[in-house]
């Protein structure tokens, strides 16, 4: 194997270095070169990430592909990498999304192409690093560094209120993560000078301390998920970001929050997690139901999908804090599925936006007549967003609702409401955009998908259907890690 023992390093650094290379192409006169290099970089990133899947050992819950070398001995920070069944699928999702983003921005981005492409490639590498980090400070470095390219992407290539959205996004996420930094430093001393996440997980802590730590972690990750009521940055950022930015935000960065819960909150402070579970579940259900209602009244398609993302991520957090295998696996499946579905939805809106430069539902109508192929794809993705059986959206939601039913009937009842709400807002939007008569002349002149767009939506369609019909490869990967995590969480860490 070409990668040897440095597979994870490759997965992190190949995109980052290709990003730097793309950046070096400089001005827009070399835009074509920048695009081609970026595509190669993204494909190379996916290529080096693929062995993570093929060589993954599904039998064990241990960290795999581990790498360890000393980084900053003065502070005992190590370059320690490894993946388990929870982080590996997310890394693949991330590497895959990067390819899509590069393709999606191929024609649309004409201004500072090299910077745009480089930002996404570098961000992709940083996110991979974050998922792979087993050293808390290494995690933190990637976690924060990732904000810089995303901040620039929203602010430079975004819509009219991009500046507000970018700064809000940055400060919101920084607020949470700074408290987490203090929590890490505190744990460092409790662990006798170690930043190893696995050492943190083994450390006994009293309940009041656990609760404070839980709050610090919660602040960092709840903002990322985002959970109600700290979700307000998301609609702004989503709406103003360019299509690629929205895709990465929805498909990847939202998963970081949920991943953080799984990697930090649950195993490091299990007693506090149980103690606070009711609170988190309440917030999740509010997100699922209330945000679903908010989505119903949106007139801007991107905003609608953004709210729908918050609502769907509510499922993920709900599943995580039910503390049973079904719920947690459901949450993970939901996360991956949402990665595909939300990416597809945002790309579809991007396809429309590139043609008409409007995101308002009311500006469309009758697309089925002028763009039939697109309408068919959009239909499929809308159904997946609703959670129709046979699509990937169904699997995760169904698992979480079943798991909720085991715990409390009302949880399941409220969570199930979202299936109705989701159907309502998604299909209503679909109806208004795609069906009906062509009212506006501009719409009548629209052209159907070009091959580039067709390719990108077709790949996603295959994945959405594939996951919906046969989710076993995914759940199989997660199974050992999830069971191990649950066993760990079930044990009290009180001294």
């Amino acid at each position: 194997m070409l990668a040897g023992h440095h597979l994870l390093s490759l997965v992190i650094w190949v995109p980052i270095l290709s990003g730097v290379l793309v950046l070096a192409t400089g001005s827009d006169r070399q835009a074509v070169l920048a695009r081609i290099l970026a595509l190669f970089g993204a494909l190379a990133g996916l290529f080096v990430a693929w062995p993570l899947y093929t060589q993954f050992n599904v039998q064990t819950a241990d960290m795999q592909f581990t790498e360890f070398s000393s980084w900053i001995p003065a502070l005992n920070i190590n370059y320690h990498l490894g993946v388990d069944g929870i982080s590996m699928p997310l890394m693949l999702l991330n590497s895959f999304t990067t390819v899509l983003v590069v393709i999606a921005g191929w024609r649309v981005i004409q201004n500072k192409v090299s910077q745009y492409m480089a930002a996404f490639l570098i961000m992709s590498g940083l996110i991979n690093g974050m998922f792979a980090a087993l050293d808390a400070m290494l995690f933190y470095v990637f976690f924060e560094a990732m904000l810089i390219p995303l901040f620039l992407v929203i602010g430079v290539w975004g819509g009219p209120r991009r500046v507000y959205a970018a700064i809000k996004f940055f400060l919101y996420t920084l607020l949470g993560s700074l408290l987490m930094l203090v929590a890490f430093i505190y744990l460092f001393f409790q662990c006798n000078g170690s930043f190893e996440i696995l050492d943190f997980q083994a450390l006994p802590l009293s309940l009041p301390v656990q609760i404070l730590l839980f709050i610090a972690f919660f602040m960092a990750f709840a903002v990322k998920v985002p959970m109600w009521p700290v979700h307000t940055w998301l609609p702004d950022a989503h709406v103003e970001a360019p299509t690629g930015g929205s895709v990465v935000l929805a498909a990847i960065t939202l998963k970081i929050g949920a991943y953080g819960f799984l990697r930090f909150n649950l195993p490091i402070v299990p007693d506090a997690s149980h103690y606070m579970a009711g609170f988190i579940i309440t917030l999740s259900l509010i997100a699922v139901v209330y945000i679903g209602l908010v989505a119903l009244v949106q007139s801007d398609m991107k905003k609608l999908i953004a709210y729908s993302s918050i609502s769907h991520m509510g499922f993920a957090t709900l599943g995580i804090f039910l503390f049973n295998t079904l719920g947690m696996e459901g949450a993970l499946v939901q996360m991956v599925s949402h990665g595909f579905v939300s990416a597809a939805m945002f790309l579809s809106v991007g396809v429309m936006y590139d043609r008409l430069h409007s995101r308002q539902i009311s500006d469309y109508g009758g697309l089925a007549k002028v763009m039939p192929v697109f309408a068919a794809f959009f239909m499929l993705f809308s159904m997946a967003n609703v959670g129709l059986p046979g699509t990937s959206g169904f699997v995760g939601e169904f698992m979480v609702i079943m798991a909720a039913m085991k715990v409390n009937f009302w949880y399941a009842f409220l969570a199930a409401i979202t299936l109705i709400l989701g159907a309502a807002y998604t299909l209503w939007m679909y109806k208004r955009v795609v069906f009906g008569d062509v009212v506006r002349d501009e719409v009548a002149k629209l052209r159907d998908l070009v091959p580039r767009e067709f390719f990108m939506l077709a790949v996603l369609a295959v994945l959405v259907l594939g996951m919906g019909l046969y989710p076993l490869p995914l759940t199989e990967i997660m199974h050992s890690s999830v069971n191990n995590l649950l066993a760990h969480v079930a044990q009290s860490k009180l001294p």
Binding site: L75, V141, V163
Partner: protein
């Protein structure tokens, strides 16, 4: 009282610099304006000579006292001096073009700069209150003159006046405090004082009184709230070349000043000064970060940012441990590197008759020149403390020391204020990247400046990715000297 030439060996760099400065001062008189660059090169050569001497006489772990214990040569002084030379040399390179275009490329500038440097070297190596004060005054007097160098600028005159009066007041306070400590212990020697106080000598009321005045003096010189009033005016009013010098090089000396006084002399009173530093530090972070938001002048904004950073620096000191001091040293070095770049960028963007010192002058820099915008982006994120830049590790090391000292709440307060601070650094990035340029002049700096700027900006990133070497230098220097 035996005296041998060998006693002078530890202060060889100072002696050399004094001689070199006097030589440059006189030699410059015989140069025509066209030949002024010879002075500039001689100044750099003098710094290089100092660097060689300091490096050659570096003693490792032995601490050498000379002049009857008034002057100390230890690893901390050696390391700080070497950093000082590099900083001053960088200041010179950054300022060359700027001074030329403003008619300030004159012998006095270089002589004053070298005298100020000498003052700082004396401060760094001081082992007696008297030496410390002497170095401080040599530095301050040179700075007052430097700030007023631009004779036709009313702002500069005002800044210089304000600096002088407040500086004199601070010196007075410091002296008053020192005299009280002297009264209580009967000696001016810092090491002696340390030992005597450990042994419990001295009336505690007098000591506490003296300590308050000394801490107030330190606070004045560092520019931390509530003694920060001079900082914004001086930073804004002084020619940017001088602001660059005040904003970077003097911070190294100020660090040594604090270490010599608090960590070496008055360490037995740590319980008292820790409380005072907590207040100073929280106030500075609050005032610095919040007031900076309202600024429209870049130099003034960076001045408030300095106040906040010095507050953060005090956090490391107040941990009162080897880790704390070394983290503070790392912090100050990180700040100096970043500050050099930030003020350097203002000079790089300035031209004849135009100061690029307003925030809007940075608008659209990414379109005018993506490379400089990227460097400034790194510098700003470093000031904000976002990884992977050096500023993050500086903050991390200090926070770690603070938490270890049992002040977890203080760490939480500190990170909350850095969140507020992040806003105005982000605003700069926003101006550079998200807005269209108003100023469309070409940016054509000289080659030396271009190279230095690139090295400086990338150092912020490189030292952020691999901070270990610098961190261990700081740790080792502090460990061997205290």
């Amino acid at each position: 009282m035996n005296f041998s030439v060998r006693d002078l060996m530890p202060m060889l760099p100072e002696i050399f610099l004094l001689a070199a400065t006097c030589f440059i001062l006189i030699f410059d008189l015989f140069l025509s304006d066209r030949r002024r660059h010879v002075t500039y090169l001689l100044t750099l050569a003098a710094l290089l000579g100092c660097g060689w001497l300091s490096f050659a006489t570096m003693t490792g772990s032995t601490v050498t006292y000379t002049m009857h214990g008034m002057f100390v040569d230890d690893l901390l002084s050696g390391t700080l001096k070497l950093m000082l030379y590099v900083t001053v040399a960088a200041v010179l390179v950054y300022s060359r073009q700027y001074l030329h275009k403003r008619g300030m490329f004159r012998g006095e500038f270089f002589a004053l700069l070298l005298f100020a440097t000498l003052g700082m070297m004396v401060m760094i190596s001081a082992s007696s209150f008297l030496t410390l004060y002497m170095g401080l005054e040599l530095l301050s007097l040179s700075l007052y003159a430097l700030v007023a160098m631009q004779r036709d600028s009313a702002l500069a005159a005002e800044a210089s006046m304000k600096y002088f009066i407040l500086g004199a007041l601070a010196s007075g306070m410091l002296l008053y405090g020192m005299s009280m400590i002297y009264g209580a212990t009967g000696t001016l020697d810092i090491t002696q004082i340390g030992l005597l106080l450990q042994a419990g000598v001295g009336n505690s009321t007098v000591l506490a009184f003296g300590l308050v005045f000394i801490v107030a003096g330190i606070a004045f010189k560092l520019g931390v709230a509530p003694f920060h009033m001079w900082v914004p005016d001086v930073y804004q009013g002084a020619p940017t070349a001088v602001t660059l010098f005040i904003g970077t090089a003097t911070k190294l000396a100020a660090f040594a000043f604090v270490i010599r006084l608090l960590a070496q002399g008055l360490v037995a009173l740590a319980g008292d000064w820790q409380q005072m530093l907590v207040i100073l530090s929280v106030l500075s972070m609050a005032i610095g970060n919040i007031t900076a938001i309202a600024q429209t002048n870049l130099k003034r904004m960076l001045a408030y940012s300095t106040i906040a950073h010095m507050g953060f620096l005090l956090l490391g000191i107040l941990a009162a441990s080897i880790d704390g001091y070394s983290s503070a040293m790392f912090y100050v070095v990180a700040y100096v590197i970043t500050g050099l770049g930030s003020f350097g960028m203002i000079m790089l963007l300035s031209r004849r008759g135009f100061e690029a010192d307003k925030l809007e002058d940075l608008k659209g820099l990414n379109q005018r020149n993506p490379w400089y915008a990227f460097l400034m982006l790194l510098l700003m994120f470093s000031l904000a403390g976002i990884p992977p830049t050096i500023g993050f590790y500086a903050k991390l090391a200090v926070l770690q020391a603070v938490v270890n000292a049992g002040y977890t709440w203080l760490a939480v307060v500190a990170v909350m204020f850095s969140l507020i601070g992040a806003f105005y650094y982000l605003r700069i990035v926003k101006l550079m990247y998200f807005e269209a340029p108003v100023d469309t002049h070409d940016i054509r700096p000289a080659l030396d400046m271009r190279v230095l700027m690139g090295v400086n900006g990338l150092a912020v990133l490189a030292l952020g990715i691999l901070p270990q070497a610098l961190m261990s230098v700081c740790l080792y220097a502090v460990e061997q000297s205290l």
